[in-house]
Every structure is written in C-alpha cells, then in structure tokens.
Symmetry: C2
Subunit: 344 residues, 2 copies
C-alpha cells in the first residue's frame, strides 16, 4: 500500500531533520504533549535539542536520540561513538557540559554478530570516557530476523547547569561561528555506503564537544547566546531554525565556510551542497559581536576547533537565511530534509 | 548465516528478560561501562531497574526502555501506554514516584500509517497525564520500508527522591506481596497475536503504578525494602533476581498467587505457567513482616491493588525460589527468558 493522500503515511523525509520532520513533530508528536509539564520548565514547545527542568536553583537538562545510521561502522566512527557524541553534544548545545549520566537502550536483530556488539560497546565506552561521562543504566531488546535492520541504539543524557543556552536568543548584530569544516560526517557515510572512490579520504567528524564548549562558555560568558549542532539537514537547517526562532535574517558568507578538499570533491561529484550535509562534531555558535574574538580564540586553541570561523551575521528582516557567494546574494532555502536517509 | 558456535550471534532469548539476557548484559554491555561513574552513584553494577545519581541531598533516578511489542495495539493497551507505564513503573520501583520528566524517541518504518502514530501519541499523552508526568523532549527517526517492523518507541524517565528503594535489600523473615493478578499482559498479547478464542476476555494490565506505590511507601515507610515490576520473565524472574541479590531463599505459596480465570484458562491451554508471564501493571514488593498489614491495606484501598496478596516469605538458604504448591514443594527454576518474543 503506497501513500493514498499526501501525508497519510510516514515517508523517509519525516525523519530527515528538515521541514517535513518539523511539521510532523508539530502536528502529531508535540501536539498537546507539553501540557502537564511543571510551570517554569522548558520542554517540547521550545523545540530545542532537549528540555530544561528546574531542580533547586539549577537546571537539569535532558535530551534523547535514537540512532539508526547505516552502515554501523563508517570511516571515522561507528554507531556507538555517534550515539554518545550526539547526546553529549545536545546537552552541550544547551550549555550543560558536565554530564551527570547517560542511558543506553539497544534493540538488536536476531542473528546480529556478537563481535560487532562488543565493538559498538567498546566504542561507546571509549567515547563516554573521552567526554568524562558514564553510562549509568540501559535496556536490551531483540527483534526477530528481518524485523530490524541490524541495530538501533538510543541514548539519553542528563546534565546540570546554572545557565541554559537556547537556540532562540539571537539578535541583529550577533555573529555566527562554525567550529570547523562542515559536511564531513554526511559525505563520509555517503561515500562508505555507495563505495565512492573518495571513500578512504573522507572521515566523519563525530566527536563529543563538551570540553570545547566548556571553554567557549568560559571565554564568551553571557556573550554566547545561541548554540546548535548541525546534524541532519546540516548547517542550512540549523541556521533556518535559529533565524526562525529569533525572527531575523542570517547572512552567510559562503567563502568563509570551512570545507575540506575531500568534502568539496564529494560535494561536486554528488551535486550536494555541504551546507545541507550532516555534521556530528561541529557546532554553530551565535555570539554577541563583542565576544566573537574571545570565543574564536578559545576555539582555535582546542584540537576540535582549529578551523573555526565566523561565517555569518544576524540582521533585521523577515526570518530567512541569505547566502553571500562573493559574487552575489541568494536565499538559502530550508531543506525539506537531509538528502541521505539513516545518516545518524 | 545461522549461528556457528553457541553465542556468537544474538538470539531472541538475549532480549527475553531471563538468564540469557542477564548473561549478555554482564558479559558485553555492562563490562567496564560503570567505570567513570561518579563515586556514590548507583548505576549499572547494581543491575537495578535504573540508576540513582546524587543531586544535592536527593537522588535523581533515571531509567530507560525501548519498546518493541507486537502487535502495537492489544486488548487493554498499546505500545504508547506500555512505554509510559513501563518507565513510570521502573522509577516507582526505585522509590521515585514523582516524575520530573519523560523523553520519547520514536523510530518509524517508512509507510507507517499516520493515523496509527496519532493513536499511539494520544495514548502516551493520556497515560502520562494519568501518571501526573509530562513528556518533555523527544526524537524522531524513520527507517526504510522493510528495515523495521512498524515502530520502536524509547522512553526514558527522571525523578527525584529522598530515599532509593533497591531490589536487593531483602532479609530472612521479610514478606513478599504481589499487587494483583499475574500474567494478564503476557497472555493478552499472546491471545491477540495468535487469535486464540480467549482473546476478548483477556486484558493487559498495563498501567502506571506511581500513585499506588506512593501510598505503599507512605503506609510502609522504611518497612518497604525491595520492589520490582515483574515484566519480561514474569514473577519467577523477579523473585529469582531478588533472591540472588539478597543471597537468600524465597518460598512462594502457589495457592496464594492471584490469577484471573481467563489467565488460568490461557495458561492451561498454552501450557505456560503464569509465574513466567509478563505483567505491565503489577509490582512485587518485599516488606518487613511488621509492615505487611499496613502495606496490604494501602494496596487494597487503591483501584490497581484490590487483589494484592502476600505470596511469599524469605528464609535463610542458598539463593533459590521454592514453590509450595499446597501438596508439596519444588524448585521454581529461573526461566531462560520470557516464552514470547516482543512482549513489551
């Protein structure tokens, strides 16, 4: 049975991080759900990377993600590293860089190789250690052969913070920083999946960013006003979400956006803009102009931020993302979704 | 490729809540994972229903579960009610009955009916409301047609409590209470799946227990020493885990175990002992003998605890579960796993 009418059945784009997914979430999943939340908590209605719950005089930040990346092992990482990094990074983007604990729920297909499970587990453990975090509880389910393609991994994280950074607080005049080269994760997975000749040279950037973000927050203080990790839908989706929430226009200087040679080559080969491709070890950081230098310095001093660059500025105007190509300006459309399914 | 040697590939029993799953978790999943945890936190090594993390002078309890039940809609409930109830109940079993927040991560198969997604979401919302809890954040992924059988739903919950109840603190002389009839969830799902004639009469017991457990804790105070929700593997698995952790023997009075007529009929038809069948709205509660009456009274006054009964006692001895059938005694073996796959 294919789709009868428009959206009556779920399509791949509904999980692809773009406009289609946002609509599904708003229309079905969050509809009414925030009701019942405690007054003062920041939950689903904020559509942020997680929720912030009042605990004493602090915020408990909580975030969850299920991971369905295919293949499970790709150049530069695997589903285990992806899950831990993704959760640590979502917490970090809300300003919560000291992880209290991570949970890990695994759904495994019958017949899955035990050796691969051990490999994924070791990768999770190593990545958690890198992030100074611990996996504190978990769950294991098995589905029959053919009922699941390999492995689905859910991680949820909790962290305490005194100050929550949202993704909605940009103002005209603010500066947008990308913490390094973009598109590496998405292009590496695409290359691995399709056996592109570029394969070996492309590496996913998947990494936990909490240590780097801790330094950013120390350097920039209250001048760090908005953060987002540009995963599904890439930097373009993140910028669109930030512009829309803050009701302003973001102008991106395309020539300033850092892209590796290999990602550039993949981009040209596949005809896919790196701005639309998923990252798993990068952040888009919005800062007050006065804080930009200090934040950039902190980033450049960190191994994961060496190629950080100012790539955009906020201006008054209708919510939009404008691309300054160096020879002219055009609107950067909000992607309907990540071009590749099961990228994370 | 079928299994070459013993456990080299994951089998259905590895997700079935019994001995095989416990071994997989110990050998692969928790091996080394608790390392890195903060001193004083109670995490994976305790193998409890969740972890307890120190936050100020309280405990933050966190628990996670992925749900793969088949069919998604069954007599008495659905995967949405199951997910919320399961998470609320795991928190409650650790003594944390005031839910701070729940997360919900959905993985959907391409082609899934949007109307069914709405139905699941509405059920989650209603069940969360029943438990006085809010879903505060979520995640949505889509897998291709044939890559996933319908829907996988992960819920994680956090709650604060002053006192953590473990499942390990039983002593000889303690009394074991079951809060109502057993096996209803498992038999209802079996009947629905196999189209047994019993179908209509069997109803899953799936329900959030936090309100009832709150009253139990108020009534029994420090006399409530151990709690467990007997899901996969049923009451038998829970009793075995409790006996093994406390290093004592549990004697169950089989004639005292409440079972509905319909579940009894299903049990005889299928040749499956209700003690081995999953429950989703019941608890096994270990109490000091002096607190038993007060706890039982509190249970009988609650709509979900009307048929609560004392079913067992703890005695000194090697870890074991002994079944007193009324005409004799025999060892109740630890099940290798739940008899039915994808029961929750």
């Amino acid at each position: 049975m294919r789709t009868l009418v428009g959206d009556e059945r779920i399509l791949m784009k509904h999980g692809a991080g773009g406009r289609a997914m946002r609509r599904l979430i708003e229309e079905v999943l969050t509809e009414g759900l925030a009701a019942g939340g405690r007054p003062g908590d920041r939950g689903l209605k904020a559509m942020d990377d997680g929720a912030a719950l009042r605990v004493g005089d602090q915020w408990l930040v909580i975030t969850t993600d299920s991971h369905v990346v295919h293949p499970l092992f790709f150049p530069g990482g695997d589903i285990g590293r992806l899950a831990i990094s993704g959760t640590v990074n979502d917490l970090s983007m809300m300003g919560a860089t000291e992880v209290l604990g991570l949970t890990c729920a695994i759904v495994i297909e019958e017949g899955f190789a035990r050796a691969d499970l051990v490999r994924v587990q070791q990768s999770m453990r190593a990545t958690a250690h890198e992030a100074g975090a611990a996996i504190v509880t978990g769950d294991t389910k098995v589905m029959g052969r053919g009922e699941l393609d390999g492995l689905v991994l859910n991680t949820t994280g909790v962290a305490l913070t005194d100050r929550v950074v949202s993704d909605a607080a940009l103002q005209p005049g603010d500066v947008l920083i990308v913490t390094g080269t973009i598109g590496d994760h998405g292009f590496a997975v695409m290359a691995a999946r399709h056996g592109l000749a570029l394969d070996g040279a492309l590496q996913s950037d998947v990494a936990p960013l909490n240590d780097m973000i801790r330094r950013v927050l120390r350097a920039g203080g209250e001048g760090v006003v908005a953060m987002k990790d540009p995963t599904r839908g890439g930097v373009a989706s993140s910028m669109h979400e930030m512009a829309s929430k803050a009701q302003l226009s973001i102008v991106i200087d395309e020539t300033a956006v850092p892209v590796t040679e290999q990602a550039r080559a993949a981009s040209e080969l596949l005809g896919i803009d790196p701005l639309h491709v998923a990252n798993e070890g990068k952040a888009v950081i919005g800062v007050r102009a006065a804080a930009a230098d200090a934040v950039l310095q902190a980033l450049h001093a960190h191994p994961l931020g060496r190629r950080a660059a100012i790539v955009g500025r906020c201006v008054e105007g209708r919510p939009s993302v404008v691309l300054d190509t160096g020879v002219g300006r055009r609107l950067l459309m909000e992607p309907e979704g990540e071009p590749l399914p099961r990228i994370c």
